[in-house]
């Protein structure tokens, strides 16, 4: 029994309510954070930082946002990319029009703007449920995409509709290298993930889950459904908004509204479902799966380079990607996070089978 819970007694409810009540988990997390904050920027090259880790972290954040809404509050949404777009354009405009604001405040405000827009599109959720709501959130997706392209003001009238934010400067220090940007993204994502974790295990999180699991019962014990759902929309959109701002500022440097199209919304939804609906960890696992898998498949494909035609290879990659999604759902319909949890439970019992 390498990994065990038995024999570790908690003597106070406070200890029992710590994020990771089991010390092994805590140590593992500290080790992981130390690795991510210190070892990675020192060791990884620009390719890993700039094209794998940064987008992975940003999309994890967006997935986290959607997971709050869909996983915790049970409101299926296909419009998360639109809220990313709102965040990106808002941050751009704050930076452009109020240059004296510090960068992090721009991001915060961008998140708040996204949250406000999220609330507007969340109002119908009081009456509309399930897939009906999902399709209805497409209204947000298409409307916001259209509005951002249509009204030049949002993109400062650039002919191409593309926005290019200024370099990021924090306290006079300009972030230029990929490592700088990575650290910024990692910092923001870590803090927001911690806040999300706190939130979902507090009264607010319980209210969300209650509404998700059985809204009638939730109302009967005094939870205000509309208020709870709108809060979920707001928080979720906030996270997506910040993710969108980071996408524009820290990852690509320039974006247009099409960077946040329907496909992006779906991509984020995949992450949530594959990773684990209603799991913070799952958002990260899902993002890793969806971001890394196609790249991995592409690299694997290169091993066959020459032997197989490139278009065959590309299509095979797509097929494998789809098949793996199905495979993982069959293995564990509740996502990678649950798979991880079961593995831990088994470890706990190891070497006994049950």
């Amino acid at each position: 029994m390498i990994y065990r819970e038995s024999g570790q007694f908690k003597t106070s409810y406070r200890a029992d309510q710590a994020i990771f009540p089991i010390p092994q988990d805590r140590y593992a997390l500290f080790a992981l954070l130390a690795f991510a904050f210190i070892a990675v920027p020192l060791g990884a090259n620009d390719y890993w930082l700039g094209s794998i880790l940064i987008p992975f972290l940003i999309l994890s954040l967006a997935a986290l946002g959607l997971n709050i809404l869909t996983g915790y509050c049970g409101q299926l949404s296909l419009g998360s990319a639109a809220f990313m777009a709102v965040g990106a354009y808002a941050a751009y405009n704050f930076q452009l029009r109020l240059p004296e604001l510090p960068l992090l405040l721009d991001f915060l405000l961008a998140g708040l703007v996204a949250a406000a827009v999220g609330i507007v599109f969340g109002v119908p959720s009081l009456r509309i449920k399930g897939f009906y709501l999902a399709v209805a959130t497409l209204a947000a997706q298409f409307f916001i995409e259209w509005a951002l392209t249509k009204f030049g003001w949002f993109s400062n009238h650039s002919a191409s509709g593309v926005i290019s934010p200024q370099p990021m400067t924090i306290l006079g220090y300009t972030l230029t290298t990929q490592a700088d940007k990575y650290l910024l993204v990692l910092g923001i994502v870590s803090v927001l993930a911690l806040l999300a974790k706190n939130l979902v295990r507090s009264a607010t999180g319980r209210a969300w889950m209650a509404v998700r699991d059985m809204d009638v019962a939730a109302e009967v014990i005094g939870i205000r459904i509309l208020h709870t759902k709108l809060l979920a929309f707001a928080v979720s959109s906030f996270y997506c908004g910040v993710a969108g701002a980071l996408w524009a500022f820290a990852y690509l440097g320039t974006v247009d509204a099409q960077a946040f199209d329907l496909n992006r919304s779906f991509q984020i939804l995949f992450m949530v479902i594959i990773g684990g609906v209603g799991s913070i960890l799952g958002s990260f696992l899902g993002a890793a799966f969806i971001v890394l898998l196609p790249i991995l498949l592409n690299l694997l494909g290169h091993l066959f380079g020459g032997a197989v035609r490139q278009d065959v290879l590309s299509n095979l990659e797509l097929i494998t990607f789809g098949a793996l999604i199905i495979f993982f759902l069959i293995v564990e319909p509740h996502g990678l996070a649950r798979l991880w949890q079961i593995t831990k439970e088994k470890l706990r019992l190891w070497p006994f089978p049950h």
């Binding site: 507090s202 009264a203 319980r206 889950m209 059985m214 014990i221």
Partner: protein, 263 residues
């Protein structure tokens, strides 16, 4: 102990001339009943008589077309379920309505949500007041867990629990809200004798210790006759009997419609 020896007070809940229709179906027709403070009132009746509907009307899940409900002296016709909760009405459901994806502990903690006052931002930071509050309520909930003897399943997702335990958890969730009026919809269905006895004990203790008024729907006549102070009988949405258990048991109309001769 008999009913009179406890200090049953004045009328807490007064239901007047309630009529509830679903399209063509009349679930409740002109029903009136009164529940006094601290008493245990049972509603019985054949299947489909409208018992559950009655509870749904009392706590605002259904909105009757006619009639008026006076609770603690405040009359009203419609109200939202969460408003009812705010006024101290809690309940359990016939088909268990727990939050399946959450642990037992979380289910119970949710029952206390109404009393948690910190803002979501404080909760996100989990700082000072938010953490103190969380711990305070946790202690209260642990007391209920002890009371209901469900310590061992505290962290188990409720979906995995056997039926009987789920019923107990549901009672716990209702109790967590520290209600003054507790509505129980068939809390003992699907239990064996021993478990029913336990459940009766819980109900009686709640009633005794916290002075909670209880409205109970139950099909086990043994339980109903033993523990209630007052029994209301419904049939086809109409009230056909109302009174002390002894009276109701001997009411010929009730015997014909519900109890049957075998009893």
């Amino acid at each position: 102990m008999t009913a009179t020896s406890r200090n049953i007070g004045s009328t807490l809940l007064d239901v007047r001339n309630i009529t509830l229709r679903f399209g063509g179906v009349k679930a409740l027709t002109d029903i009136s009943l009164a529940v006094r403070e601290h008493e245990i009132c049972s509603i019985i009746g054949p299947n489909g008589a409208g018992k559950s509907s009655m509870l749904n009307v009392i706590n605002g899940v259904y909105h009757p077309q006619e009639g008026q409900i006076t609770y603690r002296g405040v009359p009203r016709r419609r109200m939202k379920a969460h408003e009812a909760a705010r006024q101290g009405i809690a309940r359990t459901f016939q088909n268990i309505a727990l939050f399946k994806g959450m642990s037992v502990l979380d289910n119970l903690m949710t029952g206390r949500n109404l009393m948690m006052k910190t803002s979501f931002i404080q909760q996100a930071l989990r700082w000072g007041a938010a953490e103190r509050e969380e711990l305070e309520h946790r202690e209260k909930v642990e007391r209920i867990i002890d009371f209901l003897e469900i310590q061992s399943v505290r962290k188990t997702p409720v979906g995995r629990l056997p039926y009987g335990l789920q019923k107990r958890v549901e009672l716990g969730r209702a109790l967590a809200a520290e209600p003054s009026l507790l509505l129980l919809d068939e809390p003992m269905a699907g239990m064996n004798l021993e478990e029913k006895e336990d459940m009766c004990r819980f109900v009686l203790d709640v009633n005794d210790e916290f002075g909670t008024t209880i409205v109970l729907i139950e099909h086990d006549m043994g339980v109903v006759m033993d523990i209630s102070d007052h029994v209301v009988v419904l049939d086809y949405g109409k009230k056909i009997g109302d009174g002390a258990p002894g009276e109701v048991r001997n009411n010929p109309e009730v015997i014909a419609a519900y109890l049957g001769t075998s009893h």
